[in-house]
Symmetry: C2
Subunit: 336 residues, 2 copies
């Protein structure tokens, strides 16, 4: 079977993806073997590509939609032929190969009303948004259950931001999101933001007049640049969360008087450390239902046809530009 | 009536407490007027004394036990004659006066089986411990409900630590606490710690062999000194919390890979910002029941008899030494 990857990490300009012919793996225990139909490229894919030290072929890719082809002997929740979607694990070979092994606890049946390329856009970003908004910030993952609360989403137009806006709005939050370009402003409004403010200008001055504090704040870009502002804005007992590591120590003391919390979200913590894996399968099942009901929509904005080294390179280049709006998907089949 | 306080803040050696004769206040709205029977001295009292800029008499004191003497017109939960206890608010005149106004939402009926001096020791520290352990760390406040989880309490012998050990043990945690002197080690064992380790030595090396990560970590002293160790020890998705402001920015990124959270606890946030005040009355009601059932015991270790300027100065000197084990209480009546 075909597996596509890279050797060690360098800048995309001088780094080529390579297609290798490798043996098809066999699932054991809780794993399933999935035949990959479509994948997406996330910013984290490009970081892994740049920094991998692996001398053998490093097969990248997290998000995938595919069909279950074989089951490990402990798998009870899925059967051969099930169409599934997932974000996978950063501890194993990725989704940029024809057949992939994945732990059945972190996958779910794919939304039945979405085509592969729409479904493939969603798992990693929506899981990240859901874990931060509902698990870390301790809000109910239920329709309209957060009415009366406000969330600020800094960098609303990226993949995680686009999913976060939709989940927050559906669950009842008043949603303030940031964007800076005409097309990103329009996009975050389409995702459901109640107000859009520009993250290149003073966020506090741009807030609506009736709003002087915010219950939950998601920092989805340059944590060190927005931390102090978030600390000023967050409500007493509120939460500030981030998915982007800070390049420097943070003045955490700014949150003390308000007894506020700071939460890191990292979607791969559960599969990496082997904790609460099944919660990811459960979250994805809820996400699939919301996609099927139309309560949230796919954030796919770009599609490349055929999964091959060329398109992976192209996809990485686009995502690496940092200007992506929503998600980029590469649709199967695998070609040379 | 007598009110005891200080003018501006300085070191206790050159600072005198003054007794003044002031008008007895009248409760309105949700306030009750309480006749004070006993108070305790907390470390935060000494910080407020040192740093106050108030030119008029600053009446200190948070913890109190007393009798309701009069009711604001909106009070429905209490009647005249009720014996109550509370930690009060840092926004109002304190408990070091014969009669004090306090918001009825943040008080509770005092434990009936405890004498005044035992009950007075408990509110501020036990509320702090309960808010951090149950609200911030998101654990159930129920007997045995946290079995299988582990908590590390750094500085277990102080007031908050002593209450935290007891609440954690009662609610099912395996409790590791730190102490460094023979008498503090014995004390934290008496409070219920399963293991005691010395915070002057490497905490990680002293952990029991079967323990390499800890779900929840409470830093109750020098946050900057213990943060990096806590980050190493905390379990994936775990919580590190503190009640002591850091003198420097903290390397928060150490928690990123484990998607862990950092929570500040500050008991006065609720009354100061006017959020969730009633939750403090409810927590204190549960704490009173635990004291009455003997599931937790008073942490009082020292008592001074008669509330007056002399004893307040003495109490502050003892607490300010930083060597206190458990709590210091000053028992009424008020004298010159």
């Amino acid at each position: 079977m075909k597996a596509i990857g890279v050797y060690q990490g360098t800048d995309i300009k001088s780094q080529e993806f390579t297609t290798a012919d490798v043996a098809q793996p066999v699932p054991t225990n809780l794993d399933v073997l999935v035949k990959i139909n479509a994948v997406s490229v996330n910013p984290v894919d490009t970081k892994v590509r740049q920094t991998t030290k692996q001398r053998s072929l490093k097969v990248l890719g997290y998000d995938a939609v595919g069909t279950v082809e074989a089951l490990g002997e402990q798998v009870t929740d899925f059967t051969v032929g099930d169409r599934v979607f997932y974000a996978g694990s950063n501890q194993r070979a990725g989704s940029n190969q024809e057949y992939q092994l994945v732990d059945s606890r972190i996958i779910a049946k794919a939304p039945t009303k979405l085509v592969d390329e729409d479904a493939a856009a969603m798992p990693l970003t929506t899981l990240t948004a859901a874990e931060l908004l509902f698990e870390k910030f301790n809000n109910p993952f239920e329709k309209d259950a957060n009415e009366g609360k406000t969330v600020l989403i800094i960098n609303g137009a990226g993949g995680v931001g686009s999913s976060a806006i939709q989940l927050a709005k559906w669950s009842g939050f008043r949603v303030i999101a940031t964007a800076s370009r005409t097309e990103t402003v329009e996009w975050v409004e389409k995702m459901g933001a109640d107000q859009v403010i520009n993250h290149h200008h003073d966020l506090i001055k741009q807030l609506p007049d009736d709003l002087n504090q915010i219950d939950d704040i998601m920092i989805l870009n340059r944590t060190e640049s927005y931390f102090a502002t978030a600390a000023k804005l967050v409500a007493p007992l509120g939460h500030v969360g981030s998915i982007v590591e800070s390049s420097q120590p943070l003045p955490l003391g700014l949150l003390k008087d308000k007894a506020a919390s700071f939460d890191w979200e990292f979607m791969f913590t559960k599969p990496k450390y082997g904790v609460k894996e099944a919660s990811q399968g459960q979250l994805l099942t809820k996400i699939a239902a919301l996609l099927d009901s139309g309560d949230i929509i796919s954030t796919r904005t770009k599609t490349l046809s055929n999964i091959n080294a060329n398109n992976l390179k192209k996809g990485h280049q686009i995502v690496e530009s940092g200007k992506m709006l929503g998600k980029l998907v590469i649709d199967g089949p695998f070609t040379d």
